[in-house]
């Protein structure tokens, strides 16, 4: 293991079972101390990728290194370096929280004398002290989820992998879990999969969107917004001549264009969408110039697309690619058949 190696290094990872390709040539790198969100629709291959990262499932091809250690050849070493919260958080129903923690601590090779204080610490961090003597089967969903998270961070591994840690939690519990994950920033590398997009945006430094077993977008939420929607979008509500508006806009900034003309209101106003490649704030130059050109303006807002928009756009784009590939394949197959028929 080298200390400078990235926390997670995935290269050309492929996993197929029963003829179905679940993960198709995924490559990504996660640096130490980073919190990365893993997004994708159901069946995109998120859980499969995470299971391969933990060494639980073998990959069909490709390589995965955790802290510079290859998963395929040294799965035992990997298991000492990760904390894993699986999807649906399976827990034994008939154990007490503290017993479970002690058992897991022993399996994770925490020395006996350190285990007691460490269990107290994680139970405190995860706000589980009140239920430490309760049987896990009798706990509410929120507590169970926190038991899973406490177990994942118990041995202070350098890499934590969590598959949907906030699923089924109420907003208050989500807040606690979010703070908990944020408190790991810098100390541990965390990779989280989730459907709750604002959640990911608030917690993660970087986002990976996968669909159909492929990485379709990768980067910080701000970078993804720029990639998917151009640099900036504004919404303008004005009254005046629409035909002369593009000329007025290009006088302010050459890349400023109308992308949606909207419908006129009975009061003469209409709402249009403008995009520009400029990333800095243009509002204070647009407003006075339009007023000077004789337009009546009653609203100008810079629109910030949510991660949800980015996610939908990225997955839609990848579906379009899949469809066009299929269509091309079908068309070429048809043309081959026709050629054969003609011959």
């Amino acid at each position: 293991m080298s200390d400078s190696a990235p926390a997670i290094e995935v290269s050309r990872l492929v996993k197929s079972y029963s003829g179905v390709v679940a993960v198709n040539d995924i490559s990504f790198t996660v640096q130490r101390g980073e919190i990365v969100g893993f997004l994708g629709p159901n069946g995109a291959g998120k859980s499969t990728t995470m299971r391969i990262l933990t060494g639980y499932l073998p990959a069909t091809s490709g390589s995965v290194n955790i802290c510079g250690v290859p998963v395929a050849t040294q799965p035992d070493e990997i298991k000492r370096r990760i904390g894993y919260l699986p999807e649906n958080n399976p827990l034994p129903e008939d154990m007490r929280v503290s017993e479970y923690m002690y058992f897991r601590g022993r399996l994770k090779e925490i020395p006996r004398r350190k285990l007691g204080p460490r269990i107290d610490e994680v139970l405190e961090v995860c706000d589980l002290k009140r239920v430490r003597h309760k049987i896990i089967g009798q706990l509410s969903k929120g507590y169970r989820q926190r038991v899973g998270i406490a177990e994942a961070i118990l041995a202070e591994p350098p890499v934590i992998i969590m598959d949907e840690p906030t699923i089924g939690l109420d907003p208050h519990q989500i807040l606690i879990v979010r703070d908990l994950i944020a408190s790991l920033r810098g100390r541990m590398t965390v990779i989280i999969s989730s459907h709750i997009l604002p959640e990911i945006e608030m917690t993660c430094d970087r986002v990976l969107i996968i669909n159909q077993g492929r990485v379709v977008a990768e980067g910080t939420p701000a970078k993804l917004r720029r990639e998917m929607f151009g640099h900036s979008t504004y919404q303008l509500e004005f009254a005046g001549d629409l035909t002369t508006l593009p000329a007025a806009l290009s006088g302010i900034e050459t890349t400023l264009k109308i992308t949606d003309e909207g419908e006129p209101h009975p009061d003469g106003f209409r709402r249009v969408k403008l995009t520009t490649d400029r990333d800095d704030e243009l509002g204070d130059s647009i407003l006075p110039q339009l007023l000077a050109a004789g337009y009546r303006v009653r609203g100008l807002i810079r629109v910030h697309p949510t991660l949800e928009d980015v996610f939908l756009a990225a997955t839609r784009r990848s579906w379009d690619v899949v469809k066009s590939t299929e269509a091309t394949g079908l068309a070429s197959a048809n043309s081959r058949t026709n050629e054969r028929g003609a011959a």
Binding site: Y17, R51, Y56, L57, Y84, P86, N88, L107
Partner: protein, 253 residues
């Protein structure tokens, strides 16, 4: 095998805190107590050739076919159904350690239950004041047979549990496998049609694996290394298949 004892002590602890264990133990002891009482009734009415201990172990097959699947059906099937096998195998433990600890805990309970029936003979000897009732030879031989054969029976139960995530299916498969091994050999050993030339090796194999004959040898005090080898090699094979079964299911999950 670093984590074997952690896993084994956890499994035994889980068995000891489970109410199902106490229900199974009570039913087992009540059933064996009934058999023992019946034997005593027969002995009090007419003199018999065999010692009561030898007769007592003749009925071993009934608890073996019923109790062993009940003890083992949960072990791996439940882990897979709940998904806890995933959390277990993502810690630095191996599949071998997991399977062996499950086997060890179930075997410990099986042997403990049988050993506790030794109390019947002690009570009989105490109240009758006759030392002949505590006939140490057949008693020792019988318990040794139970301990040795139990290895294979429990290993087969664990193997059945490794095949499916459904406890009931694991229980039925285990019961059928044990009944085939224990009663099948007995049923086929008297078959005349197996005497024919081509089937002769099969007849020899069946006689080698005839569990009832092994029991008779043990209770007579004959401890044949071939019998020991039969049970030990069978146990190793069943456990190896259990480990392979768990790993194969991971590969294809």
């Amino acid at each position: 095998m670093k984590h074997f004892f952690t896993l084994l002590s956890h499994e035994i602890r889980m068995l000891l805190v489970s109410p199902a264990t106490y229900i199974a133990a009570t039913l087992f002891l009540a059933f064996m107590g009934m058999i023992f009482t019946k034997i005593l009734e027969i002995y009090s009415s007419a003199p018999q050739d065999l010692s009561p201990a030898a007769v007592y172990f003749q009925l071993f097959w009934l608890p073996a076919c019923v109790m062993v699947p009940l003890l083992t059906m949960k072990c791996l099937a439940e882990e897979r159904r709940l998904g806890t096998i995933e959390t277990l195998l993502t810690t630095p433990v191996t599949t071998t350690e997991v399977v062996l600890s499950k086997f060890g805990a179930a075997y410990f309970l099986y042997v403990t239950l049988w050993v506790s029936t030794g109390g019947f003979f002690y009570i009989l000897q105490t109240f009758s004041g006759d030392v002949r009732f505590l006939d140490s030879g057949p008693l020792f031989g019988g318990f040794l047979f139970i301990a040795v054969s139990g290895l294979l029976f429990v290993a087969l139960g664990v193997f059945a549990s490794s095949l499916t995530s459904n406890q009931s299916v694991a229980g039925i498969v285990g019961c059928v496998m044990l009944a085939t091994l224990i009663l099948g050999g007995n049923a086929l050993s008297d078959s005349a049609w197996l005497e024919q030339g081509v089937l002769r090796p099969a007849k020899v194999a069946i006689e080698y694996g005839h569990v009832f004959a092994h029991r008779d040898d043990f209770t007579r005090g004959v401890i044949d290394t071939r019998h020991l080898l039969f049970y030990l090699s069978g146990t190793v094979l069943a456990l190896m298949f259990s480990i392979l079964s768990v790993e194969a299911k991971l590969l294809h999950s």
